[in-house]
């Protein structure tokens, strides 16, 4: 019982309360929306990558599927893009079952490498798939046809929608964390052999975790496509999409409820502001700064920043060597 429901609700309430403060400035609103969007995919990754300790570098597969589902629904069926989100989630389940199961035999780096390869494969296949726009990608509606197209000039509505999804995910994760499933996933993450000896059905629980993780990542992909209005193989399936999820979760604290959110709250504004302040110089200084900060955090706080959240810090004591 790491975080009480009250704390989850308080965190969400704080995020909500910040929103009106932001209403003055569209750019800040957009950063806030991007923070929440990144927090959704990082928190989704966290279920399998953090709690269950299966470090996936291929979650862009789900993100891409969600994004493409949304814009395929628009370009092929003329539906509002968001109508494609359930299709994306459905596809994520199928993919989890087909690709996840055989990969679960793999341990550690081998699992990570397999997921990287699967994501790279998916990206290449979509690149060569003319029906889905191939390398050129898919475009969302150029102008809103109806409110359901979710095309807003202000980023605030996106912020609100993303926040609802994040809230659902966090409450679900909170519930999972304190239920049998959460215990089982954490046990799997720290020792599969020991977990199995206590009757934990490893593959089944990994699959459950992947279902939740993949579905929310796909949803995040759909939301991304709705907001940005464009998806191509690189922005959907690119390795950086996966790496960002991992880095955010790890930075904030993988396997903790708020870790990915903390990571997103730090990294997204950092990225946006360093790009705003230094990007125009064109020297790459933004990335240099970004890289140094990440290294410093990894060096001095290897467990992620969430360990500085008061209550959790009290529970962590130095590991016996």
């Amino acid at each position: 019982m790491r975080a009480s429901l009250r704390r989850v609700l308080i965190a969400i309430a704080i995020l909500l309360a910040i929103a009106p403060v932001l209403t003055q400035d569209a750019f800040y609103q957009r950063i806030a929306a991007l923070v929440v969007l990144a927090a959704i995919s990082a928190s989704a990754w966290n279920v399998i990558g953090g709690y269950a300790g299966q470090v996936s570098f291929g979650h862009s597969v789900y993100f891409g599927i969600g994004g493409y589902a949304a814009l395929l629904a628009f370009t092929k069926l003329g539906l509002p893009p968001i109508a494609g989100a359930p299709l994306g989630i459905l596809a994520s389940f199928v993919l989890s079952a087909i690709v996840g199961l055989p990969s679960f035999r793999l341990r550690g780096h081998y699992f990570s490498m397999a997921t990287i390869a699967i994501a790279a494969l998916a990206g290449l296949l979509v690149t060569n798939w003319g029906y889905a726009g191939g390398a050129i990608g898919l475009m969302g509606p150029a102008t809103p046809r109806s409110p359901a197209d979710l095309l807003f000039r202000s980023p605030l509505p996106y912020y609100a929608i993303f926040l609802v999804v994040l809230a659902i995910l966090l409450v679900l994760t909170w519930w999972m964390e304190r239920s049998r499933m959460g215990f089982y996933l954490r046990a799997i993450g720290s020792g599969e052999r020991a977990a199995a000896s206590l009757g934990v059905p490893i593959r089944r629980y990994k699959l459950y975790a992947l279902f939740i993780s993949g579905a929310f990542t796909a949803l995040a992909g759909s939301l991304y496509a709705v907001m940005i209005g464009f998806i191509d193989p690189d922005s959907g399936f690119g390795i950086l999409v996966s790496v960002n999820m991992v880095v955010m979760a790890a930075l904030g604290g993988a396997g903790t409820l708020f870790g990915p959110l903390v990571g997103a709250i730090i990294l997204v504004p950092l990225e946006e502001t360093t790009n705003a302040l230094l990007g125009g110089g064109g020297t790459g200084a933004a990335y240099v700064a970004y890289g140094v900060i990440i290294m410093l955090i990894a060096r001095f706080s290897p467990g992620g920043l969430a360990q500085f959240l008061p209550r959790i810090a009290a529970r962590k004591s130095p590991r016996a060597a």
């Binding site: 215990f183 046990a187 720290s190 020991a194 000896s197 206590l198 009757g199 962590k316 016996a320």
Partner: protein
């Protein structure tokens, strides 16, 4: 008969780690499994626990064939084990570690917690319940391993060198714990190196050598069988390294 293993063979490539071993266990027995390193007892043990699937042979548990079942399924049937090198779940407290085991029979969190507390009390870990499990020392970790296994409410518990590496005071405590577990009606198989422990705990011992059971009897009996002395004690006297993996 609680457990019956017949003609167990386990090969790795051309190497016969277990080469036709048998074992029968009655309800509420407490037996010892001894033998020199590399004798195959750990592999045999892994076969019993469902972690390794025997190449040949059958294992029946309460009459049902469990040979091909997974480790998790064994736990579900009431066949639990501990590990020689205890694996504790990182980032979880001692209580949470035990709850992982308790969830097997008690899916509801509250009940699992109650069960865990009961086991912690029984194993003498109650005072450390809220500590991070990784903060425990060797003795504590071994004890935690036993507690976790007990939380699955086993019928048969396989203890893999649960006492190795303990100080003599810790060992006394551990022996007392094993006896209390036995007193609860749980059947026990103990793999142990320390003959003194075997002498004190068990009435029946199986001696392994080169993948086979070469002797069976009371501790006192087997230690007088020449083959055992030669194979086991003799080789130990030559000082085969304790740490080498069997």
């Amino acid at each position: 008969m609680l457990l019956e293993a017949r003609g167990i063979v386990k090969t790795f490539g051309s190497f016969h780690a277990v080469d036709g071993a048998d074992l029968t266990l009655a309800e509420n027995e407490l037996i010892g499994l001894i033998g020199p390193n590399g004798a195959g007892k750990s592999t045999f043990f892994n076969c019993l626990a469902g972690e390794a699937r025997p190449t040949l042979g059958k294992i029946r548990f309460r009459g049902a064939d469990v040979t091909a079942l997974s480790s998790a399924a064994h736990a579900g049937l009431g066949l639990a084990r501990t590990f020689q090198v205890p694996i504790v779940f990182e980032g979880m407290s001692v209580r949470e570690n035990v709850m992982v085991g308790a969830f097997l029979r008690h899916p509801a969190r509250r009940r699992a917690e109650e069960k865990a507390d009961e086991v912690l009390e029984f194993t003498g870990l109650a005072a450390q319940a809220d500590m991070l499990a990784t903060a425990l020392g060797t003795a504590g970790r071994k004890r935690l391993g036993i507690a976790r296994a007990l939380a699955t409410e086993p019928i048969l518990l396989l203890l893999d060198e649960a006492l190795a590496g303990l100080t003599s005071a810790e060992m006394e405590g551990a022996i007392a714990l094993v006896e209390r577990i036995h007193a609860r009606g749980i059947t026990l198989v103990v793999v142990e190196h320390i003959m003194e422990v075997i002498h004190r705990l068990t009435r029946r011992v199986l001696v392994f050598n080169q993948g086979r059971v070469i002797a069976e009897g009371t501790p006192a009996e087997v230690t007088h069988i020449p083959a055992v002395i030669e194979a086991y004690l003799g080789r130990r006297a030559q000082g085969s390294p304790e740490s080498r993996a069997p």
